[in-house]
Assembly symmetry: C2
Homo-oligomer: 259 residues x 2
DNA sequence: CCTTTCCCGGCAACTAATCGACCGTGAGGA
DNA sequence: TCCTCACGGTCGATTAGTTGCCGGGAAAGG
């Protein structure tokens, strides 16, 4: 159900261009504070160490829609996002799909695994044009033994990922789809909200299918639910534009969760 | 939906007593191999280093039912399980509950967080009498910077946890409750199966409510589903005893997933 | 011994959600 | 210009799953 990772700048990878909105980072968590933002992977390194790490990396550029890694494929290290947006998701053998998150600059992606070995648990595709740096597992492992602060950074990064996965599992395990949808809308509002005469417009084009994948439902059910919300004057939809009119009612619908 | 962590022995913490069945470790994963067993946290340490780590720990003994940590409470390091079983779970604000796993000896528990700071994402209670060693976060952090192999061990441990959380989220996000139940039964059969005239008896007393929490459903629905399975001769139930007669049909019900 | 508590079991009513299909529309490409 | 394609919207049928309730039996505890 969409964890939404935002814009903390990591280490020295491409500063500037921090134009993603808001400071929050996750979408499907019960209360933001409990998780905190994504920790900067290489912040604690000296410039020299940082350079050493980046030197062992390979830069890749992806166009929207291109695949970065696929579930089941052999794992070979992690990818630091320099720019763009990466959607991380999973497809079941029967074709049902669940989106973990859209990750922004400053995060790394590539499954819970970080070193070499094993297979990818998730798939990642570029949701917009992207630049990433691949840190191969083997090199990363030796670097981690040599640079204590890199190891600490990795541990903190993994801890953060763990919280994301946990939050997703908890929402999926204990909330109804409707609650999840309400939650998602509130979060999207925070992230992409723009003032509008009727309320707050979610200024990002997500199709009903996109939303369905984020909350783990079918496209039709999302359509129906949105329609019902519109009937209750909670939101206003016009062809893939969603305006949230009554955030208070949404809060109520998602079943209390401090935010 | 129950990840079921088994009996890999970690480091030097209480060897022997590895009487948990089978070698597999997780319950709700699509294919076992892709995850692998829980990595030994301190295997790579020298005896001296190991002692150093354990020295900073505090031993705790818990009776069945006692709480080890609670979601939302302040986090203070991780717990290495020496003996017994710890159930890790989450309860939503509305009271719905989901069980992550029953962790056995050799694993550590205590949320995705490992160092100090933050709050617990999950709760942990002793499912049987337990002995654990608490490694306080602060000390763990300094130790990790000093002993590279401890940091590597932590990274591998977190990676493993990440896979557990991911597997849970993926199952919850893309499988129906019925499929999850079939999956769970097959796994419990592997873990606790005992030969029986009619098939394989699951030799562990889980109530319907326990099972419901593992698959993320209501107790009643578990009762109904089990009854249906019994009607189809797939299983045989008599008061909290479950005998699996047709594992092949269960495989089919869970919707293909190599195991 | 009795009481209490927990757990299985079942029932009825209801809502949530899925599935498969079809249509209209708007955008883009040839 | 027409064609195609992706998307929103909708419908009907069906299933999955919930909620709330009651009753009985086994186990635990005093």
């Amino acid at each position: 159900m969409l964890l939404h990772a935002a814009n903390a700048i990591s280490g020295s990878v491409t500063p500037g261009t921090a134009k993603t909105p808001g400071g929050t980072s996750l979408l499907l968590t019960e209360n933001q504070q409990a998780i905190g933002g994504p920790p900067p992977l290489m912040d604690k390194l000296t410039p020299r160490e940082r350079e050493l790490v980046l030197k062992s990396g390979r830069r890749k550029v992806l166009n929207r829609g291109q695949t970065l890694f696929s579930q089941g494929a052999k794992h070979d290290g992690i990818y630091l996002i320099e720019s763009g947006r990466v959607r991380v998701f999973y497809i079941s053998p029967l074709g049902r799909e669940i989106t973990l998150a859209y990750w922004h600059v400053g995060n790394f992606v590539g499954g819970p695994e970080v070193f070499e070995g094993g297979t990818h648990q998730w798939s990642g595709v570029a949701a917009s044009n992207c630049a990433v740096v691949q840190l191969p597992g083997r090199e990363l492992r030796t670097l981690a033994t040599e640079i204590p602060n890199l190891a600490i950074g990795l541990i903190e990064g993994l801890t953060f990922k763990g919280k994301c996965y946990s939050a997703l599992a908890q929402m999926l395990g204990t909330r109804s789809i409707t609650q999840r949808l309400a939650h998602l809308l509130l979060h999207l509002m925070d992230l992409y909200g723009v003032e509008d005469p009727d309320g707050t417009l979610i200024a990002a084009a997500f199709t009903h299918a996109d939303i369905a994948h984020m909350v783990g439902a079918t496209r039709q059910w999302v359509t129906i639910s949105l329609k019902r919300m519109q009937d209750k004057q909670v939101v206003l939809t016009k062809r893939s534009q969603i305006v949230v009119c009554r955030p208070d009612l949404l809060e109520e619908m998602r079943g209390q969760a401090a935010d």
